[in-house]
Symmetry: C2
Subunit: 234 residues, 2 copies
DNA sequence: CCGGCTATTCAACAGTCGTTGAATTCATTA
DNA sequence: TAATGAATTCAACGACTGTTGAATAGCCGG
């Protein structure tokens, strides 16, 4: 990415609102989400943050470490919230099991809610996750490292709710769910053009209303067709 | 991307199997799919192709044009095949309408089949599409330009098959479908680890068996819930 | 053998890349 | 106030970036 580099001979010692480390993280989050890891230079980031180039190496060790720091920053908070909601719907359904819709919502709602009303930083973060999730270079490392513990718990609850369903079906259903969810976070505006303005990528409330019914029905269909395929069916 | 650059003082004038232009396209396809546009240098590509650096500018005009050429190359063939299959299932169902499963299959099967058994070039191509589709920088331009005409036809047939369903539901359903499909193409291997080897990202036949039932059920659920929400329902 | 054309090679350009070491500033404590 | 250690600035390094113009090789019809 090449842009006119802002002159900053001014505002050098003026009272800076926030410390440099956070400013760098914010700028990196936004730019990495737009152009990817290699599409952004360290100078792009530090210029946008209004700090010196050397501070990236000083605070984070290097560009690569900055990238993972950006990815980590919001992951724990997010997963804690999702886990809490997941266990909440599980407890609320005892001694039975929660509906598939409730489980999917526990998985997706905290993300959609933050992306919709958490501010531009969160919006950028999820766009970054969307790119990472679909990247063979970064996906296996970063997604597995930061999200798999929660995903395993999610799948375990899903299996409780579908006790007769083969495990593979749950995993494939999860893959379809996360694919649909991450493309939503990318907010490329493609659906806006396709629908002639009828739908808007940024309308995450509409997604929230529709994702759980869509995915839950998909799970049921998956399990039903596989159970029917088993020998000795009903 | 930084790798040791191969010395090629040899094999300069030896009989070269295929012309340079195609070799460049193949190498670019593979490397762009792995690391993205900015993650690969022109020299990475030409070294992998065994040709001179200057040939990229000579044959394509520049790196950017090479990228779009890679993206274009297989798009028309693909869309022609999908359109033919789509119209085929439509005709076969006359005077009625095709099942949702058949429509989804016409949309996804040609892609899955090529990715599974079309050779490494096709596999790379779909991994590239997965990244582009989730990129705010490239997605709106490339996906819209090369795939939207087919998508519009696909959605039109979908609406014929669901005549009472509001248009928005079809568009959202399409977004979920394409998200699930493109993440599948990324083949990041994440589901392999999650499932402990039970599922394999590369097993596109399993995806083919499951995607249509999953998505068709999702569409039906979407339309049903929206019709029920209409005033004066049954 | 010639001229013309395309394809390829080579060398080099100006600019950008990530990183670093030394110098400087800042806030806090002794 | 002096000292300390962290935070920031500055200048620069060697390597790599995409692109280009001139030179060369190969081929085909005359």
């Amino acid at each position: 990415m090449v842009v006119a580099r802002r002159k900053l001979t001014d505002n050098k010692k003026t009272t800076r609102a926030r410390p440099a480390k956070g400013r760098i993280l914010d700028a990196a989050e936004r730019l990495f989400a737009q152009h990817g890891f290699y599409g952004v230079s360290v100078r792009d980031i530090t210029d946008a943050a209004g700090v010196d180039v050397a501070l990236v190496s000083y605070h984070f060790g290097g560009k690569r470490e900055l990238f993972t720091a950006v990815f980590q920053r919001r992951a724990e908070l997010l997963n804690a919230e999702r886990l809490e909601m997941l266990e909440g719907v599980r407890r609320a359904a005892l001694p039975g099991v929660p509906t598939l819709e409730a489980i999917v919502n526990a998985f997706s709602y905290p993300l959609l809610e933050r992306s919709a009303r958490g501010g531009p930083g969160w919006k950028s973060y999820f766009a970054l996750v969307a790119q990472v999730n679909n990247s063979p270079e970064w996906g296996p490392v970063l997604m597995t490292q930061h999200f798999d513990p929660l995903v395993e718990r999610f799948i375990a609850v899903m299996r409780e709710a579908l006790p007769t369903c083969p495990a593979q079906e749950i995993y494939w259903g999860y893959q379809f769910l996360t694919g649909a969810l991450t493309l939503t976070f990318a907010e490329t505006g493609r659906i806006d053009k396709l629908s002639g303005g009828l739908c808007k990528s940024s309308d995450l409330d509409s997604v929230h209303e529709r994702l759980a019914p869509f995915v839950a029905a998909g799970f049921r269909a998956l399990c039903a067709s596989r159970e029917a395929a088993k020998p000795g069916g009903p």
